[in-house]
Symmetry: C2
Subunit: 145 residues, 2 copies
Amino acid sequence: MADTKSKAIEESLTLQPRFDADGLVTCVATDATIGEVLMVARMNAEALAKTIATGDAWYYSRSRRALWRKGESSGHTQRVVELRVDCDQDAVWIKVEQMGPGACHTGRRSCFYRAVPLGQSGASVTLEFRDAEQAFDPAQAYRRK
Amino acid sequence: MADTKSKAIEESLTLQPRFDADGLVTCVATDATIGEVLMVARMNAEALAKTIATGDAWYYSRSRRALWRKGESSGHTQRVVELRVDCDQDAVWIKVEQMGPGACHTGRRSCFYRAVPLGQSGASVTLEFRDAEQAFDPAQAYRRK
């Protein structure tokens, strides 16, 4: 951790993203007002550059292998209030103003709508819905126009 | 997104983590009180199971290739208040009570101590320190006992 190269990345004021083998960094988006984690996604160099340049959240979809402006289908865009980078520069945190009713493609406000009660062990772990009411109808939001 | 398999993972109340090719899921740890993102790390199946069973945050270090109980060297453990899983079950969010002065090995409270001012474009992007005061001396906290 404390070697010279790490130290340079940790204390530098130059953005030097450490993209993984697939060319991606992890991005956590939280609601700028209430601090809730809305989603975790990936950014490639272009998505990160566009997010910084425009203040809109851009991601890279691994499943679709495509650059993606959040909300381009649903209208539920994310306006970035603050963007931070972590110590080793392989993750970014964006505080966003979530436009529209929600961030999750399932219709919830946040992608994190299930809790794992602690203290469980063994093969099967049971979840509980938490803040899982649908904020919008995904069939409506994502229909082809 | 809306295929049957995805739907089953999204609406299921059974934990079915979607580990990546390296056997890992992404974990975001936030401060349970103020909502600040403290760190982003990875968990393998064992780290996730231990976190759920014990309520202490366990991670998997890619650089050290080892399971790791957060704070085992520094004493700055994380007590999990709530654990959530995201829609496609490849990321978890833990709200933690951070023990000791900070989570970051550089001595800061959070790993996200630099902001990227928006509107910049081009080859070089300049960061600004934000909440970057050191909460503890890492040389002291991580010295070999």
